[in-house]
């Protein structure tokens, strides 16, 4: 049986194309499972997983927890607000304390880039990165690609524009790596203040005009403006941002083709996209959420099978 080339999922840039294919094939199977009347398989009855969230999250945390429970893993949850982290304990100590309770896998969200990589060098557990600062959010990128594949049949050859705050976005970075690995063309679009100066060296197109970007693409992935990560105002007001980078139905209808709209959530309705766009049949936002569970089941299942070896 094929297996992943890695022991942790720390970022898309550490995966190869075969890994992604394997994850998608496995997710196909689990997507069928979660649509059965009994949405559960006994695969991971002997595995214990700790979800460590050192940063706020609603959907990613729920999605991981549901994925773990549908695989019959034992699950413990931990958020930094309730932990000793605020008392000055180091990350390694916190995690090692939890691992002493015989935990096999750690799903971690953390505000600092590279936190998962750092941890993987210092603790004995399989690590799944659920978002580390502005670095990577690999399961989000996987579920995004999976959703494009589901909607358009294939990712290769497709044109995908990522719109919004690229500078502070782990979703953008993981998506760029994932889409390129599968042969898609990628463009980033946003105000120049929110585009990293050297982003074009990643082999992506750069555009600051939303209409041009939308006319170019097959899929538009609309990112949320991450006010919480900004140390200074990168644009004068939300109103002005929306005027230039918000997608509404009139704009969509005026394009020369029908494009697919995605959003990693949570949506600021009326900012990045209006309600009529979010709820339109061009939007696959809720499919992304459903696919998120299947993708995370696949990732956890594949990593757990390496632990068992």
């Amino acid at each position: 049986m094929s297996e992943l080339s890695v022991n942790h999922l720390l970022g898309i840039k550490y995966l190869n194309q075969k890994d992604i294919e394997l994850i998608f094939e496995t997710a196909d199977h689990f997507k069928e499972v979660i649509n059965r009347p009994i949405k559960k398989v006994p695969s991971l009855r002997d595995i214990t997983i700790a979800n460590l969230f050192f940063e706020n999250s609603t959907r990613t945390k729920l999605s991981f927890e549901l994925a773990e429970k549908r695989l019959s893993a034992d699950v413990i949850n931990f958020s930094s607000g309730q932990s000793s982290v605020k008392k000055g304990e180091t990350l390694i100590d916190t995690v090692n304390n939890i691992l002493s309770m015989k935990v096999d896998m750690v799903v971690m969200r953390h505000p600092n880039p590279g936190a998962g990589i750092f941890l993987s060098k210092h603790v004995k557990a399989s690590i799944v990165n659920a978002g580390d600062g502005a670095h990577e959010h690999p399961t989000q990128a996987l579920l995004d690609s999976y959703s494009i594949r589901e909607k358009l049949g294939d990712v290769a050859g497709k044109k995908v524009v990522i719109v919004g705050d690229i500078l502070h976005s782990r979703v953008a970075l993981s998506n760029i790596f994932a889409l390129q690995l599968q042969g898609a063309e990628v463009m980033v679009c946003g105000p120049k203040t929110l585009l990293p100066k050297y982003i074009s060296e990643l082999g992506v197109k750069v555009e600051t005009n939303l209409r041009k970007a939308l006319n170019w693409c097959d899929v538009a992935n609309m990112l949320r403006v991450q006010n919480e990560r900004m140390d200074i105002s990168y644009f004068p007001s939300t109103r002005e941002y929306t005027q230039q980078f918000g997608v509404n139905k009139a704009l969509l209808n005026s394009l020369n083709k029908e494009i697919t709209i995605m959003h990693p959530g949570p949506i600021n309705r009326g900012v990045e996209i209006t309600s009529d766009v979010a709820d339109s049949n061009q939007s696959i936002i809720l499919n992304q959420v459903e696919n998120g569970v299947a993708i995370r089941m696949a990732v956890i299942y594949l990593l757990a099978s390496k632990i068992k070896q």
């Binding site: 600092n112 880039p113 750092f118 990577e136 140390d231």
Partner: protein
């Protein structure tokens, strides 16, 4: 101290004996005789070492220990052992202790504590009270105690008027002002060089512009005020160009570059290893090429190890939270020798002394013996076992270096590595 050094190749472009293999007889700390095959008089101890080379003692313009206040990083005693073992006979010691060294009594403490050592310590005083960047420290009073320069270590003076006044005021007594080249507003929350690597890693970038703007500002100020300015640890190609222009205008400016900024690019950061977290950050190959050219054409006056011991508690954490700095004394020679030949390496390591008020003497008969002993051959992988610093935060761990240091003879004292 009386000693006879046997068959040592002398590397000193200012010496009559440059590149000659000679015996060197030292009596009471002075070079009495340089010749082939000197007979040992009065049972003086002899030094015979494999492929022994001797050069004038090396100098480092930016070294940090931790005493007082951060003894867990490094003590003065062990720090001086590290310096001697690494071939440095003279070091300028930064004021970044706790409390910071910002008064006559602090400078006196450093002078007293480091007296009678093989290594000569030149204390640097803080430029502002408490290194807070608000009010000038008592610069003249510190000068009378032995301070050779004034520098708020790694803390930029953001107020241009304060820097203007510092340059004007210190000019009264020929004081050397240092200004850390960094415009903090442009740094923001940046932790590494802003470039493709920072983009890939999601780490906040520090644009080279943040350094260049401050260098340009300080050169404008210096042109207005007169006085003596040293810009420590430049790292970008444009900074080199700016200083080159200023020197053409005959401004009294010198600058240094950290050895690690010549050795590593920011590409090493992909492992998120916090030992590579330094200020100024590691930059690109283009910058390295310009820095090396600047060293070759004299725009850059000296290199420094920018030796900064950090204990493991402040390094073995998430990259964003790790403290800045790397130790560098122990790897200086071996790293430079992978970039330059031995003669050039020695030239570089002996430059800058006069700027910091120390004398530099060539290896000649009658001169005071201030020597570094080394073997320029032999490649090796630098590892934890090579580190005698209290803190082990070396970014050169696992790097291939060339040449080893045997020790120093200075201040009438012999310090040879066992």
């Amino acid at each position: 101290m009386n000693i006879l050094i046997k068959s040592a190749t002398i590397i000193d472009s200012k010496s009559d004996f440059n590149n000659a293999k000679q015996d060197i007889l030292i009596e009471n700390g002075t070079i009495l005789k340089i010749a082939k095959n000197i007979e040992t008089p009065n049972n003086y101890p002899e030094i015979t070492l494999d492929n022994l080379h001797v050069s004038p003692g090396w100098f480092d313009s930016s070294v940090s220990f931790g005493e007082p206040g951060f003894e867990e990083r490094e003590t003065i005693n062990n720090g001086l052992k590290v310096a001697a073992a690494s071939g440095f006979t003279t070091i300028a010691l930064n004021a970044n202790t706790n409390p910071v060294s910002d008064s006559n009594s602090h400078i006196t403490y450093v002078k007293t504590k480091t007296a009678n050592n093989a290594v000569t310590v030149l204390p640097i005083g803080a430029l502002t009270v408490g290194c807070k960047g608000e009010d000038l420290a008592e610069l003249y009073d510190m000068t009378t105690a032995g301070a050779v320069s004034f520098y708020d270590y790694k803390k930029p003076i953001s107020n241009p008027n304060l820097m203007k006044i510092a340059l004007q005021y210190a000019a009264n007594f020929n004081g050397l002002i240092q200004s850390f080249p960094q415009e903090n507003n442009l740094v923001g929350k940046g932790v590494v060089n802003e470039h493709i690597t920072s983009t890939k890693l999601g780490l906040k970038g520090i644009p080279a512009l943040a350094e260049e703007l401050q260098v340009a500002r300080d050169l404008f100020l210096l042109e207005y005020t007169g006085g003596k300015l040293h810009i420590p640890t430049i790292s970008s190609a444009k900074s080199v160009a700016l200083i080159k222009e200023a020197k053409k205008k005959k401004l009294d400016v010198t600058c240094s570059v950290a050895i690690h900024n010549l050795f590593f690019t920011d590409a090493v950061l992909t492992s998120f290893d916090s030992n590579f977290k330094v200020l100024p950050p590691l930059r690109t190959k283009t910058d390295i090429d310009a820095l090396i050219e600047g060293l070759n054409d004299g725009t850059i006056d000296m290199v420094t190890t920018d030796h900064m011991p950090i204990d493991i508690e402040e390094k073995k954490v998430e990259f964003d939270h790790a403290a800045y700095g790397s130790i560098g004394l122990e790897t200086a020679f071996g790293a430079l020798q992978t970039i330059f030949n031995t003669q050039k390496t020695v030239d570089i390591l002996t430059k800058g002394k006069q700027r910091f008020g120390a004398t530099s003497t060539a290896i000649n008969i009658g001169a005071h013996a201030n020597l570094t002993l080394f073997n320029p051959e032999g490649k090796y992988t630098f590892s934890n076992n090579n580190i005698i610093s209290t803190s082990k935060n070396s970014m050169f761990l696992n790097a291939t270096l060339k040449g080893t240091v045997y020790g120093i003879i200075a201040n009438n004292t012999l310090a040879i590595n066992q």
